[in-house]
C-alpha cells in the first residue's frame, strides 16, 4: 500500500516538475527534458505499483528486472537484433523503397497507369496486409528472407502512393516555367518534380520505418530460426521469461524510434526549405 | 473631456528578438475623440498595426499608458467596447453568413431572439440582406469583407478598429466599399480607427490622418482633414483633397528621411 502511495507521490512530483518546466522560457531543451521526466516517472510508478500490488513477475515484471535481464543477456539481444533488424528489416526496407520508388516513376510516365493503379494502390494500402505474413513465411522460408518479404509488401504501397502524389506536387506555374525552358522530362524530373516531391516521399519513408520493424517481428511469430526478436518475444512468454521479453520489446521500441528519428533527421536536412521544417 | 475615446501617452512597445530589441512603438501620444474617423498611415513596420493591436489588447505595451473609453484596453475588451476587422475576412467556412455574424453574439451570451434581430440589422447595414444562408465561399471577396465588417458591428460596440480591411481587394471593389464605409459611419456615428497604406484611401475616409514612421515606430504628424463630412467619390479630384494628399505624402517622406 505504501508503495502505491509512493507511486502517486512520484507521479505528482513528476507532473509538477513538468508543469514548472512548461512555464519556463521556451527552448528546445524543454520538450526533451519534459519527455524524459515523464518517461522516468512512468517507469518508477511501474516499479512501485508492480511491487506494491504484488503482481507476479511472470505477468508483468518490474523495470528493475527488465534492466537486469537487459544487462545479463546483451549477447542474445544483439544476435536477435542483427537477425531481425539488420538482416530482415533493413534489407526489406531497402528493397521495398527501391521497388516502390521505381514503380512510382514508371507509373508517373503514363496517365493511363496512374488512373489504373492508384485507386488499387489506395485500396491495398488500407488492407490488413499483416495477414499475409504466414503466407509469405510459407513461400520464402523460415529465415530472414521471408521477413524481408513481409517488410517489402507492407511498405510498398504507402511509399508508392506518397511518391506518386508527391510527383504531382509541383504547381502548374513552376511546370509551365520548365516548359518555357524547353526542359526534357528527365530535366524537369530532377530539377523540379523530385525536389518538390521530397516532403511526400519522406512522409512515406517515415510511415514505412515504423511499419517495417513491426512487420518483421510479426512474421517471426509464424516460423523462424531460433534467433530473432519476434522469436524471443513469442517463445520467451511461453517459458515465463517475461523480463527477457520486455527487454526485447525495449530494444524494438528503441530501434524503431531510432530508425524513425534517423529518417526524420535526413528529411530535415534534405527538405529544409519546406514550411513544415521551418520554425 | 468626455468626448475623448482613446488616449495614448508615451506609449512604448519593444519586442525582444534574437537580433536584439525591436522598438515597434516609441513615445506615441495620441488622442481620438468620439465620432472621429482616424486613419493610420505609414510604411510597413511603422507600428500602425501594432498600435491598433495595443488598443485591442492583443499586444501589451512595455511603457506608457493607453485608455480606451476611459478603461484599460483589457477592461475595454472585456466590456466588448470595440469591433475589430482584420486584413482578411476570416469568416468560418463551416458557418453561413448569418452564422458567422452570430458567432460573437453567441460568445457574448446574447439571447437567441435578439441575435436574429441584430444579424438582420447589420446585414441590412452592409447591404447583404438575402445572403444570410450562403456560405462564405459562395460570396465574392468584397462581400466577404462586408460580412466581416457586419460581424464587427453586430454587438453595437462604439469603436470600430480596422486593420487594412480592404488591402487584398481590387481598386474598384475598394472604392465601392470605401463609399459604403463612409455611409455606415455617418449612419452609426461610431469612432473608427483605420489602418491603411493607401494615401487616397486615408484622405478620402478620415477626419484625422496619423502619419507614422518606422524604426522606432512613432507618430510623425497628425493631419486634421478639412474635407466636409459629406464626401462623394469625385471629391478626390478636388484641390482640397489633392492638397491633403500632398501633405500626407510630405509627412511620410519626412519620416523616411530622418530614418535615412
Amino acid at each position: 500500500m505504501t508503495l502505491i502511495l509512493a507511486a502517486l507521490v512520484v507521479w505528482a512530483i513528476g507532473w509538477g516538475l513538468n508543469i514548472w518546466i512548461s512555464h519556463q522560457k521556451p527552448g528546445r531543451w524543454q520538450s526533451i527534458v519534459s519527455a524524459i521526466i515523464f518517461g522516468i516517472t512512468l517507469v518508477i510508478m511501474w516499479e512501485l505499483i508492480v511491487r506494491g500490488s504484488g503482481i507476479s513477475p511472470v505477468i508483468l515484471p518490474p523495470p528493475s528486472m527488465i534492466i537486469n535481464a537487459f544487462a545479463t543477456s546483451t549477447d542474445i539481444l544483439a544476435a536477435d537484433f542483427i537477425q531481425t533488424f539488420m538482416k530482415g528489416v533493413l534489407t526489406g526496407y531497402a528493397m521495398g523503397c527501391a521497388a516502390a520508388f521505381l514503380t512510382a516513376l514508371a507509373i508517373d510516365r503514363s496517365d493511363f497507369l496512374k488512373r489504373g493503379l492508384l485507386p488499387i494502390g489506395n485500396f491495398v494500402a488500407a488492407l490488413p496486409i499483416i495477414g499475409m505474413a504466414p503466407i509469405l513465411v510459407m513461400w520464402f522460408g523460415f529465415d530472414w528472407h521471408s521477413k524481408a518479404a513481409v517488410v517489402v509488401i507492407m511498405i510498398f504501397f504507402p511509399i508508392l502512393i506518397n511518391t506518386v502524389q508527391g510527383l504531382d506536387a509541383a504547381d502548374k506555374m513552376q511546370k509551365d516555367l520548365m516548359r518555357t525552358y524547353a526542359a526534357s522530362y528527365w530535366q524537369s524530373l530532377f530539377k523540379l518534380r523530385l525536389p518538390a516531391a521530397a516532403p511526400f516521399i519522406f512522409n512515406g519513408l517515415k510511415i514505412a520505418s515504423t511499419l517495417a520493424l513491426i512487420g518483421a517481428i510479426v512474421a517471426e511469430f509464424f516460423g523462424s530460426p531460433i534467433v530473432g526478436m519476434g522469436f524471443r518475444i513469442s517463445t520467451g512468454a511461453g517459458r515465463l521469461e517475461l523480463d527477457l521479453v520486455w527487454a526485447e520489446i525495449v530494444v524494438a521500441a528503441v530501434a524503431g524510434s531510432a530508425f524513425y528519428g534517423i529518417v526524420a533527421l535526413i528529411e530535415r536536412k534534405a527538405t529544409f526549405w519546406h514550411p513544415s521544417q521551418r520554425k | 473631456m468626455d468626448d475623448i475615446v482613446i488616449k495614448a501617452e508615451n506609449l512604448c512597445l519593444t519586442f525582444e528578438t534574437n537580433d536584439g530589441p525591436v522598438h515597434a512603438l516609441k513615445d506615441v501620444d495620441l488622442t481620438i475623440d468620439k465620432g472621429e474617423f482616424v486613419s493610420f498611415i505609414g510604411p510597413s513596420g511603422c507600428g500602425k498595426t501594432t498600435f491598433l493591436r495595443v488598443l485591442a489588447d492583443l499586444e501589451t505595451p512595455t511603457g506608457g499608458t493607453v485608455c480606451v473609453n476611459g478603461m484599460t484596453p483589457r477592461e475595454a475588451r472585456r466590456k466588448r467596447a470595440y469591433g475589430f476587422v482584420f486584413q482578411a475576412a476570416g469568416l468560418y467556412p463551416w458557418r453561413t453568413i448569418s452564422g458567422n455574424i452570430k458567432l460573437p453574439l453567441e460568445i457574448m451570451g446574447i439571447p437567441r431572439a435578439e441575435q436574429k434581430q441584430l444579424v438582420e440589422e447589420v446585414l441590412d447595414l452592409v447591404h447583404l440582406s438575402g445572403f444570410e444562408n450562403k456560405f462564405p465561399w459562395q460570396l465574392s471577396g468584397g462581400m466577404q469583407q462586408r460580412a466581416s465588417i457586419a460581424r464587427a458591428l453586430a454587438f453595437h460596440a462604439d469603436i470600430l478598429l480596422m486593420d487594412e480591411p480592404f488591402g487584398a481587394l481590387d481598386e474598384i471593389v475598394r472604392d465601392h466599399l470605401n463609399e459604403q464605409l463612409l455611409e455606415l459611419w455617418a449612419k452609426t456615428n461610431k469612432t473608427i480607427g483605420f489602418v491603411t497604406h493607401s494615401i487616397p484611401e486615408a484622405v478620402y475616409l478620415s477626419t484625422k490622418i496619423v502619419v507614422m514612421s518606422p524604426r522606432p515606430g512613432r507618430v510623425t504628424e497628425v493631419i486634421e482633414s478639412t474635407l466636409p463630412k459629406e464626401r462623394p467619390l469625385d471629391i478626390r479630384e478636388s484641390p482640397e483633397f489633392l492638397d491633403l494628399a500632398h501633405r500626407v505624402r510630405e509627412g511620410l517622406r519626412a519620416g523616411h528621411e530622418d530614418d535615412a
Binding site: 523462424s224 531460433i226 512468454a237 | -
Partner: protein
C-alpha cells in the same frame, strides 16, 4: 441479435443455475485450441458430469500465444492443462505449479522425417534441419538432443533448429528434414497432404526413452492449503476422468461434441474422429493418477539437458496424489 439473445439467455441460465445449485465455479485453461486432445473435458461438460458434481465449469481454449502457466499466474484460471516440462520449468522460475492429475499416460510427441532426406536413424540427424515447436513444447526436444549429444546451434555435428509454425509446411516443402508432430494431429496432416507412411520415418519420444509427461492438470501450490479448493478439484478431477473414459469408449460421439464446442468452426469431423482414436491410445493407460515412475523419467530426462538443462535441480513437491486419491478411490 442472436448473439445478444444467446448471451443474455446463457447469462440468465448461469445466474439461475448458480442460484439453484449454488454450483462452484471452476475455470479450466486448455493448452491449445479446441480439439479432441481435450475431449474428456468437453464430454464431461456436455454430458453433465460437472453438473452432477455441483460444478459450474468454464473451459477456456488456448492458442499458440497462450501460455497456461501465465494465465493461472494471472488468476485467469483455477486449473490448467499443461505439459510437465513447461510446468516444471515454470516451477523453477518461481511459479509453484503442482500436478494434481495425469490423464495422459503416454507421450504422443514424435519427430517425423522424410526418408528421401536420407534419415533412417537418430544418427542421421547431424547436419540436418529439424522443425520444433516452441512456447514450452521445445523442452522435450532439447533434452532429447542433449541425450543424443547433438548441439542445437547449427553446424555439421549438430542440428539446425527451426521454429516451426503451427503446420507441417516445412517438411512438405523440403525446408526441414524432420518436423515435430503429434501422433494424433500433425502426422495426419502430412498424410493428408499426400505423403504416404512408407515415405516417412517417425521417431516417437516414447520409444526413444525420452518421453515426458504431456497433458496433465496443474494448480497453484498455495491453493492446495485451502480444503474447499481441494474438494472442488477432487470433484473436478472425478468428473473429468469420467469424461475421459466415456470419450475413450465413444470416440465418434466425443469427436462430435468437440466439434460443437469449437468456436472457430475450422475443425472437421473426420480429422477430430481420427484424432480421438489416437488420443484414446494415450489416455488408455491412466485412470488419472500420476505414475511416479513416469514422473521420475520426465525429471531425469529434463535434468540431463547437457550445458543448458531445462531444469537445474530435481523439483520438490511438484505433484500430489491427494486429489486423485480422494477422487478415484
Amino acid at each position: 441479435m442472436n448473439i445478444v439473445k444467446t448471451g443474455l439467455l446463457s447469462g440468465a441460465l448461469a445466474l439461475g443455475g448458480f442460484a439453484a445449485h449454488a454450483a462452484d465455479d471452476v475455470t479450466l485453461q486448455l493448452k491449445w485450441v479446441t480439439q479432441a486432445q481435450f475431449a474428456g473435458y468437453y464430454v464431461a461438460l456436455e454430458n453433465g458430469y460437472y453438473d452432477d458434481e455441483g460444478l459450474n465449469v468454464e473451459i477456456k481454449a488456448g492458442g499458440p500465444d497462450v501460455a497456461p502457466s501465465q494465465v493461472i499466474a494471472g488468476g485467469g484460471a483455477d486449473v490448467v492443462v499443461d505439459w510437465m516440462p513447461s510446468a516444471l520449468s515454470a516451477r523453477e522460475k518461481g511459479l509453484a505449479l503442482v500436478n494434481i492429475a495425469q490423464p495422459f499416460k503416454s507421450s504422443g510427441m514424435m519427430l517425423t522425417c522424410r526418408r528421401d532426406a536420407g534419415i533412417e536413424t537418430t544418427a542421421d540427424f547431424a547436419g540436418e534441419t529439424l522443425g520444433v515447436w516452441f512456447y514450452g513444447n521445445e523442452f522435450p526436444f532439447l533434452s532429447w538432443m542433449a541425450h543424443l549429444g547433438l548441439s542445437t546451434d547449427g553446424g555439421d555435428d549438430g542440428v539446425t533448429v527451426l521454429k516451426q509454425g503451427f503446420n507441417v509446411d516445412p517438411i512438405l516443402q523440403g525446408q526441414a528434414a524432420c518436423v515435430s508432430t503429434m501422433t494424433y494431429n500433425e502426422y495426419w496432416q502430412i498424410i493428408d497432404a499426400g505423403l504416404t507412411p512408407e515415405e516417412l520415418i517417425v521417431f516417437k519420444y516414447q520409444d526413444q526413452g525420452v518421453a515426458t509427461l504431456e497433458d496433465g492438470l496443474y494448480v497453484l501450490e498455495e491453493n492446495l492449503s485451502d480444503p474447499e479448493f481441494v474438494d472442488r478439484m477432487t470433484r473436478f478431477v472425478r468428473a473429468s476422468m469420467a469424461g475421459w473414459k466415456w470419450a475413450e469408449e465413444n470416440p465418434d460421439a466425443a469427436a462430435a461434441i468437440v466439434i460443437e464446442y469449437d468456436e472457430t468452426g475450422a475443425q472437421t469431423i473426420e480429422h477430430q474422429t481420427r484424432m480421438m482414436g489416437e488420443i484414446a491410445k494415450l489416455t488408455a493407460g491412466s485412470n488419472g493418477t500420476l505414475d511416479e515412475a513416469d514422473y521420475q523419467r520426465t525429471v531425469d530426462s529434463l535434468l540431463a539437458g547437457g550445458d543448458d538443462p531445462v531444469i537445474t535441480a530435481a523439483p520438490e513437491g511438484a505433484f500430489t496424489h491427494i486429489i486423485t486419491d480422494a477422487a478415484l478411490n
